[in-house]
Symmetry: C2
Subunit: 359 residues, 2 copies
DNA sequence: GCGGAAATTTGAATCGATCCAACAAAAATG
DNA sequence: CATTTTTGTTGGATCGATTCAAATTTCCGC
């Protein structure tokens, strides 16, 4: 009777093999996970039975539960999944993470979600040993959500006050100063800033109040760096327009419109990301302005695209790949400690900056 | 006594909460997975206990084992992990896959490995409900390995004789014919082909024997398409040099060297990938040859980069994003059937092709 | 206060493996 | 040949949840 029902497509378990081969499940398990400790004769017999019954090998689901370790790290963001494949900064970062994972055989699980509830669920149910968080917009929510999982995690970008969170970032103040000094030394005195977000869901000119109340301290630090350095050159920083964008096409162009609609056009633009800088170059060229003839531009990040555009972009390069590698290592070798690392940055002078025009 | 030892950092389980709150595991489980069926008063009490004990929520590892479903799909290749973030074709494909996954809340696990043993292990131990295989070099091995997992999988690229494998690909013959006709109609009569691999680990001019014995039938079909169409225009296809590359920089340049070292230089190049086509444009320009003045080039794939280079690339566009979407859907809605889909392709004429020079 | 329907709660079974202490058999030693 | 050692095998416990049939409680109307 029962044998008639066995046609069911129920997948074969290790226990089935053990029974069929006449050994205990312990031995059957050893045949697959530690073949060297089981007698050759038995080993071959079990393997033959497994082969013949069409056993797919030990199911990782079962192994996982026992082992407790997934051997994969989750990379999460509030952007849609395609962000990982589109955004140049993310891509370079992922290359670094991939490298570290490849080296240890760990896997990568991409986590993201179109909406907030899904994000929460995806974070809660991701099968990973830890998370690397891309703290773009909505970063603080992402951190809160992840904290609840009680797994190790690292935030990329140190733009967090919260000292209890492990993070890797760059020295934003120093980088910003490098950029500002470079332009000032070229003789520029009229500036505009294309800024990253100070808080979520805002664009437009930033007031001192907004800057003081910044949620993203990384943005605040970069601005502080710009201003500190420019002050040393006698520039009145209170007159510098700072336009907060969402680091994408639309709001960046809106920012440029707004900046150039004001009385005195800047001769130099400090962009807090290469992405904005590249959009700016494009916008300026379309407007008939020469870069760097009429306007010089310095970016921030050092993505590969910056080297390929026309003119090639002068920028503050972060060691993006290295940050990715370290973040992955931090999760893989996690020891329970909170680590906060600040990496150095480097000014890369290309052709998007030149001497200020006379007058 | 025992209570003194409880300081151990052993993570809290659902059972601990149940005991502490004085309910059964069943009820405790329901509080988290189906809160609506438990009495409000009990629900709040359990939640309060969980909160107070620092419970991280039901562990996905446990849930997974019971549920049997991971809710994630694996994307595998024999290239290193960074391939997913570097290669333009892969990136567009991933965008399509991401889209489908985002829509259903499924996750993506990237699987790859530097070496063969690791690849096997990674495929065997990936926590996924199915695989999408990028069948580049070593595709057949990848298919064999995946088949052993007995999970649903789809091969991208139909270049497989094996009809028992689900696959999505494009009509290679039709695409190739489109490319060849376009060039022939422009008056070209002297051709060269930059070919994808016919088998693993080979580069150099392909002989008829190699073509006949092709492991990758997709490559063979494209070549057949080129030849069929050119024959109709009276071109002697036996004289056309076909150089097999590894679809990367070094071997493609070597191929170009070899092709142009021969007697009569071609006036048109048929490249089986945009990647090779772009490398060819670069190589020709560096050599002082004008594209399309001296040499016309048609690519294959339709990656975004092709539209941005100078001159913009004429190519056979595959519906890459759509292929990715369908592949993901095939895994997510898997019904046990083997599906083989062939998508149409489209000739996109840009500026890398022009009339053949007189003489 | 009672019967019966509806709403909750219980606890054993299950998912698919790995680990390990205990035991058995074979081999080496005195 | 008795006694260690070495080598292999066994079967119960465990990982952390979910499920479901059965037991219990609550709620209602009469």
């Amino acid at each position: 009777m029962a044998s008639l029902l066995e046609g069911k497509a129920r997948p074969i378990r290790l226990a089935d093999i053990a029974k069929a081969a006449g050994v205990s499940h312990g031995t059957a398990s050893n045949v697959f996970s530690r073949p060297e400790i089981v007698r050759a004769e038995v080993r071959e017999r079990v393997k033959a039975v497994a082969e013949q019954m069409g056993y797919a090998g030990p199911d990782p689901k079962g192994r996982l539960l026992r082992a407790g370790r997934v051997n994969a790290i989750g990379v999460a963001t509030t952007e849609p999944l395609s962000y990982f494949f589109d955004d140049p900064f993310a891509r370079v970062m992922m290359a670094g993470i991939s490298e570290a994972c490849d080296a240890t055989g760990a896997g990568i699980a991409l986590v993201s979600a179109a909406n907030q509830e899904k994000l929460a669920w995806n974070i809660q149910s991701a099968l990973v040993d830890g998370f690397i968080l891309f703290c773009i917009e909505g970063g603080s929510r992402l951190v809160d959500l992840t904290r609840e999982r009680r797994l190790p995690f690292v935030a990329l970008e140190l733009g967090f006050q919260d000292e209890t969170v492990s993070a890797i970032g760059v020295d934003n103040v120093a980088g910003a100063r490098l950029a500002a000094r470079h332009l000032a030394e070229l003789g520029h005195r009229r500036f505009a800033v294309l800024s990253l977000a100070f808080a979520d869901n805002r664009t437009g000119f930033a007031t001192p109040d907004i800057v003081r109340g910044a949620l993203y301290t990384g943005t605040r630090d970069r601005l502080a760096g710009y201003f500190e350095e420019l002050s040393r050159f006698g520039v009145d920083t209170t007159k510098i327009p700072v336009y907060e964008t969402e680091n994408e096409e639309r709001s960046t162009r809106a920012g440029l419109e707004a900046i150039f609609a004001r009385g005195e056009a800047p001769t130099a633009i400090l962009a807090m990301s290469d992405r904005m800088a590249l959009i700016a170059i494009d916008w300026l060229k379309a407007r008939g302005l020469s870069v760097p003839g009429d306007v010089s531009i310095v970016g921030f990040d050092g993505v590969p695209d910056g080297a390929l555009c026309t003119p090639p972009l002068t920028t503050i390069a972060q060691p993006i790949t290295e940050i990715g590698r370290r973040a992955a290592r931090m999760i893989l070798d996690h020891d329970g400690a909170v680590r906060r690392e600040t990496m150095g940055v480097e000014l890369i002078v290309r052709a998007s900056t030149g001497p200020a025009r006379k007058g």
